[in-house]
């Protein structure tokens, strides 16, 4: 943070749904106070004023899917002291990374009548694949509470304290009955990063890992456990290959599972 004056903050968007930066505007009770403590230099969705870098903090939503994105993310990195990625797209390539194992030219032909007008890279990739990321906030969408924790920590100059445990732990804390054990519902909660408040099991359904893999997730072990409980292999593969499926932990587990079955 600058020794004097308010920290200069910028919010950027690459390929994404807007939902993570919306979470900043969804901090309805804190937004005006937060905005008073920082200089929001660039946030196209919220303000017309645009101030050039350098920035103390850049918050980046979305994945890299075009040459233009790639240039932008390098430029953002050059201009920013601390780069914080927001959400599943920025951290894992997001749901649009489902194309990574497919033929993008075929995709383009499937949707757009004039494919020549479309410029897309073959893969949707996370920000960290291209530049150094200082801090990642997970989720699809990110949690407002975690965003607030990171912003306030950065404002006062301490390290953000985000949980490193799994969604499983959140269920136990809330007293939600385990959907996997009690109903045999396929659930990625044991290997998924906490933060959502275990919202899906609370609705009687399995976690589909929108917060991405937790640290040292043992996805192989969970896959074996799911298979042992009779979850069909194609369903396990579909679960792994979902909102954060391009994350190394899930991608490699899916590849191993596929190899084991052929």
């Amino acid at each position: 943070m600058p020794a004097n004056g308010k920290p200069r903050v910028a919010v950027f968007k690459l390929a994404s749904c807007d939902g993570c930066q919306l979470q900043m505007l969804n901090l309805e009770d804190e937004l005006l106070d937060l905005a008073g403590q920082m200089e929001i230099c660039y946030f196209l969705e919220a303000r017309s004023q645009v101030l050039d870098g350098p920035y103390d903090v850049a918050l980046v939503e979305g994945s890299v899917t075009t040459e233009h994105d790639l240039e932008r993310v390098r430029d953002i990195r050059r201009k920013s002291q601390t780069l914080v990625t927001l959400g599943a797209c920025a951290n894992t390539g997001g749901i649009q990374a489902l194309r990574n194992m497919q033929d993008v030219d075929e995709y383009t032909r499937a949707i757009y009548a004039n494919p020549a007008y479309i410029h897309a890279l073959a893969q949707s990739t996370p920000i960290a694949a291209h530049v150094t990321v200082d801090f990642a906030i997970n989720g699809c969408p990110i949690s407002r509470e975690q965003l607030l924790e990171v912003l306030t920590s950065l404002l006062i100059g301490r390290s953000p304290q985000l949980p490193a445990h799994s969604v499983c732990v959140e269920c136990k804390r809330k007293g939600t009955v385990c959907v996997l054990v009690s109903k045999g519902i396929a659930c990625l909660g044991p290997v998924t990063h906490a933060g959502c408040g275990a919202v899906c099991p609370g609705f009687g359904r399995g976690c589909f890992a929108c917060y991405g893999p937790m640290e040292s997730a043992n996805a192989d072990s969970l896959c074996q456990g799911l298979a042992a409980r009779g979850v069909p292999r194609p369903e396990i593969l579909r679960l792994l290959n979902g909102f954060t499926g391009w994350a190394e932990e899930f991608r490699s587990a899916a590849e191993r599972l596929e190899r084991a079955t052929t």
Partner: protein, 434 residues
């Protein structure tokens, strides 16, 4: 004074206070507006392609990710389209709960647009953050309204951005009556704040502008249409949703990763969204909203896109009022979702997203796997209309400097509350004077 034999290009790289990223390009030659492009350069995300091969059960969670502002809208159109393909029809209780979730999204999205995105334009300010220094109570009212919309979505959907409770057949779990009753005092406040919002926007000086719109929306025999109905227009169109593809055509243009939808018959543009709905369906507003519409000083039907903010405010009243009614008459659906047998089929549905008509169509095989998907969001349908309106407006202000033209264009575009993230599942502003 601009010489008549030169070409002038006016360009706006990135629009602000809209959802997602797009620009404008306007080309003026020999003193005439030659070309207007509302450029959507945001990267395409290929939803229709990667949905193929996925299970029909995953579709509501996947399509929510098209848009963080209107995820429930995509979920509503998606599940209803798939239910049509499967030949199932959830009961009235589920229908009512879906309408409540949708009301929450309308409140959240409309409050965001009125107070945070558009209001600063009427005060000559660059953002609501700046506006809040002069009018803190006004901005706080907007934020509180938005928060209440989010609370409705959270109780019904589990969370406001990308709700998790919606499934094919109904809900994973339905809220209990007492959980919904917690929202009652909040929604009573929201109803009053929405009425105050109508007064506030009615007092704004709206620029004069009139266009010959064909307004298009759903229309339902008994209520202000949200989840179902026939597709009607101010030009006399009245078709079942299944005929959408015969009547509306998507065109792919070079300057946009959003497909542009036009009327197939004559290639003309049309208008969807709050103004179109108010022009077509206002007689079905519930009492408080109807009274607010009658007393707001706008003569309906209204051809002025700047009255969109008033239409949106009246719909805030409607959504708050409807939420209260739906909570008071709530009966927990039992079961929360209807069982279904997988069968091959094709189905479509259209619902009214906050920004207008949202059409989804799916073909499913006998294993429940998606074979094809088609998604037509409201912004794709409004793109051509936005360009038509920009052309009309720029023609009247050619003598002004570029910066003023750009500013006027941006303000005009905000009336439509374009959602670029939705449209690029595919539009930029640049003005060319050559």
């Amino acid at each position: 004074m601009i010489a008549t034999n030169e070409t002038r290009t006016i360009r706006l790289e990135s629009m602000t206070r809209v959802e997602g990223e797009g620009g404008l390009r306007i080309e003026i030659r020999d003193g005439r507006v030659q070309d207007v492009n509302f450029d959507i350069y945001e990267a395409p995300r290929f939803f229709e392609a990667f949905l193929r091969g996925r299970s029909l059960r995953e579709v509501p969670d996947f399509t929510a990710r098209i848009c963080g502002i209107c995820p429930a809208a995509h979920q509503m159109s998606a599940v209803q389209a798939i239910e049509t393909a499967l030949g199932i029809m959830p009961g009235q209780e589920i229908r009512a709960l879906r309408r409540l979730l949708y009301c929450g999204e309308w409140i959240e999205s409309h409050a965001l647009h009125i107070y945070l995105l558009q209001a600063p334009d009427f005060f000559g300010m660059e953002s609501a953050l700046t506006l809040s220094k002069e009018q803190p109570e006004l901005v706080k009212r907007g934020l509180e309204l938005k928060k209440i919309g989010n609370e409705v979505m959270t109780i019904v959907g589990g969370r406001s951005v990308h709700p998790v409770s919606v499934c094919v057949g109904g809900f994973w779990k339905a809220p209990q009556r007492q959980e919904l009753l917690k929202l009652r005092t909040r929604l009573e406040w929201a109803l009053q704040a929405s009425l105050d919002t109508v007064k506030f926007v009615s007092g704004l000086k709206l620029p004069a502008f009139a266009a010959d719109y064909e307004c298009v929306s759903l229309s339902h025999p008994r209520e202000y249409a949200m989840n179902d109905g026939a597709i009607v227009s101010s030009a006399g169109l009245n078709i079942p949703v299944r005929d959408f593809d015969q009547v509306f055509l998507e065109e792919h243009v070079a300057h946009s990763t959003a497909l542009h939808t036009v009327r197939a018959e004559h290639g003309s543009s049309y208008l969807v969204g709050p103004l179109a709905r108010m022009n077509l369906n206002r007689s079905q507003l519930p009492p408080a909203a109807r009274q607010a519409a009658n007393e707001c000083g706008i003569a309906w039907p209204c051809p002025n896109p700047y009255a969109g903010i008033v239409a949106r405010a009246v719909e805030l009243v409607m959504a708050s009022e409807e939420s209260l009614r739906l909570i008071d008459t709530y009966r927990e659906p039992e079961p929360a979702n209807v069982e279904y047998a997988i069968r091959a089929g094709e189905g479509c549905a259209a619902t009214e997203a906050p920004r207008g008509l949202l059409y989804h169509r799916y073909r499913i095989n006998d294993q429940g796997i998606v074979q094809s998907a088609r998604i037509v969001p409201p912004t794709c349908q409004n793109c051509r209309r936005i360009e038509d309106d920009l052309r009309l407006m720029v023609h009247g202000i050619l003598d002004r400097p570029d910066a003023e033209i750009v500013d006027a264009c941006e303000k005009l575009v905000r009336n439509y509350d374009p959602c670029i993230s939705c449209s690029t599942h595919a539009v930029r502003i640049q003005i060319n004077h050559r």
